[in-house]
Symmetry: C2
Subunit: 410 residues, 2 copies
């Protein structure tokens, strides 16, 4: 039997999906599970997106342009201009989800062995895309105590060596919910300029900024047009994860010409997703206002509930629909599995994402979990009741004194 | 400005798409172009595929399973069983087009620097996928004189070294239309067994086998289950290129577990395409009979017309909807560009794919073109009239004597 590749061997399994078999067993045993583990919103997809697909009148379902349907790219440019991102259709390649925007960017920018600095905790699938492209992640750690603010630039500088070729951020952040300030981004800009690095920014949660805080894009940073790549997706924006439509955006013409060759090799992004994505651009502002209001209610409820629990700490995020909580537990992986395997309250339990999967530094995030507040308030309320009870009976719980010592040690 | 990657630099531009700007200029000047250059069928997509999408009742367009919707995979297994390919749903990963089936297979099987043997001429985008995975293609040449039959196994053996890890074929073939016989595939099987290689087979044209000839799949070969990967797509089968739905299939469980990690990193294939693909499995046999009958008429007309032209030779293919013709010309790239830039007959011209893009050996296929007979008979007839006239006035034409010498020299 021929061997699989080293890459395939090293490729990390999804830290979120590895708990799925335990959830399936619990479900078969009749236990209801509140899924706070994945960023799959329960918000309805705008009807105008779905209607455009349902009403499409296509006789022959042809390939589209490799960079995406032109009318879609043109309207999308206008959408970005609404955020003061001054691009035109030629700066956009429509991709199969944000995922493909990342993988094409990785292949276009980096050589095998190149290094990319990413503030951790970060979206776990970045590991997969970097592994596929043979790119080494150098994590720079952000901490729960500061709400996962940008680490000091000196920490980035320490990691920069001859192989460093880029920095990648997610803003607003998954899994942290942190929203970078203009000042933080300006600091990154100076660093990027100084070392002539690529700056990749995953901004798929742009619509989800709360408390009147400003969304600042890397595309707003002046003087680094040739360094910046914006990675985007309609999945979260319109609750349209299954459409598989994203975008890779840059004003660096040479880079985009090269990226197009990768796009051509895979022929085209999905036609129906593009039709839906184009129609969705007419989504009224009122839709987002309603959705945002709902997420703020959910966030406030979850964060308040968490912080009221003994030994729990959860900073309040300003964006996306995630938060990371520190729990009084020995090991988040064990705890999350225990919730599914051993625990239930009135035949209910909850599924969380252990934060360890979002850190690249070994041992980091051992007592942290990511919570996606993508369920309605009633379900979130039940889930929080479950969690409180679970923490009080979990065999691996850590009493306050121990926890404090533990935290000081880190 | 940061440098693009070596890969991005070396990535070949699509040999078919590079002529597009000339075609656009010709169209703007009012010239009608018969597109025989791409495998975009004009056949209507089955209405039951389109209706399933139009009638879908989805409130939240969620991610699907990373391996694809389970009900689709189950029905798809039954479809393959109809071709005596004995697999079940767990042997299938639904991919974003056949393209992604190839790229995930490449990453799962091969290390950077590994070599794969591919009979040439081959589908040009294999170059792109191999480049992206840092895999080196070792071409083994097949010849127009034998209709592009499988080259002698000794020619494969010559290329096998310590870095050789796989063989890739396309059957029925794009760009050749050649259909491998059971005997040819049995020879390949012995070779694969002897050297414990992966055998990747792109069989997206399975439904398009003509003249009562038998379709033999690599999945029919006994004793090499762990070596074989079937690459598939619904694009050509149902004239549904824009759906972007394909499949990677293998009975090698370890391989498929590893491939699933790459599939998980990109989350899921497009939902609407899967809905369409599942519905399309109910396409009646009569649909394919009608389509096949149409393609046979087109093939016979095109091949006969070509062989009647002075100095033209075109073997009759038994599958897919392509043929390769040898023309009495100096250079196929120059000729195809000239057709768009300089030639027209009654304000009409045609677009062909220079065969050079399908060969990996430098200088091969210089006087060959690929013709996709994806237009109706009336259009094909007009196109053949254009081609005949073009060949008679083309400044780089080669008279018969010269051509013969030229061919003997090769």
């Amino acid at each position: 039997m021929p061997k699989i590749s080293r890459k395939a061997d090293q490729m990390p399994a999804s830290p979120i999906r590895k708990l799925v078999p335990y959830a399936e067993t619990a479900k078969k045993a009749g236990v209801k599970i509140y899924h706070l583990n994945i960023g799959q919103p329960d918000i309805e997809t705008p009807t105008l997106l779905m209607d455009a697909i349902r009403n499409s009148d296509i006789k022959v379902l042809e390939y589209s342009h490799s960079a995406g349907i032109e009318s879609y790219r043109k309207k999308l440019a206008t959408y970005y201009q609404g955020f003061r991102i001054n691009i035109d259709a030629s700066d956009i390649i429509i991709t199969t989800g944000g995922s493909e925007a990342i993988s094409i960017s990785m292949m276009t920018c980096f050589n095998p062995g190149d290094e990319i600095i990413i503030p951790e905790p970060f979206y776990a699938n970045y590991n997969g895309f970097c592994c596929a492209a043979d790119v080494t992640i150098k994590p720079v750690r952000s901490y729960i105590e500061s709400g996962f603010a940008l680490p000091p630039i000196a920490e980035f500088e320490k990691l920069i060596g001859p192989k460093t070729k880029g920095i990648m951020i997610c803003n607003p952040g998954n899994p942290t919910g942190y929203l970078y300030s203009r000042e933080e981004l300006e600091l990154l800009k100076e660093l990027v300029k100084k070392h002539d690095l690529y700056l990749l920014s995953d901004e798929v949660y742009r619509e989800f900024c709360y408390d009147g805080k400003e969304y600042v894009s890397v595309m707003h940073l002046e003087g680094i047009d040739n360094n910046v790549i914006l990675l985007d997706s309609i999945s979260k924006r319109y609750s349209a994860c299954g459409a598989r439509i994203g975008a890779m955006i840059s004003k660096n013409k040479e880079l985009m010409r090269a990226a197009l060759k990768f796009a051509q090799a895979r022929l085209s992004p999905p036609t129906f997703g593009q039709i839906g994505g184009e129609a969705a651009l007419n989504t009224p502002a009122s839709y987002f206002e309603k959705v945002k209001k709902e997420y703020v209610l959910r966030r406030d409820f979850v964060v308040d509930s968490l912080n009221k629990m003994d030994g729990v700490f959860c900073p309040k995020p300003s964006g996306a629909f995630y938060c990371i909580a520190r729990l009084p537990i020995d090991n988040a992986d064990t705890f999350c599995q225990w919730l599914l395997e051993k625990f239930s309250l009135n035949n209910k339990t909850l599924m969380l994402a252990p934060a360890t999967g979002f850190y690249s530094s070994p041992g980091a995030g051992l007592n942290e979990v990511r919570i996606a507040y993508v369920l309605n308030l009633e379900d979130l309320s039940q889930a929080m009741i479950c969690l409180k009870e679970a923490l009080s009976v979990y065999p691996g719980k850590i009493v306050n004194a121990e926890l404090e010592t533990n935290n000081r040690r880190k």
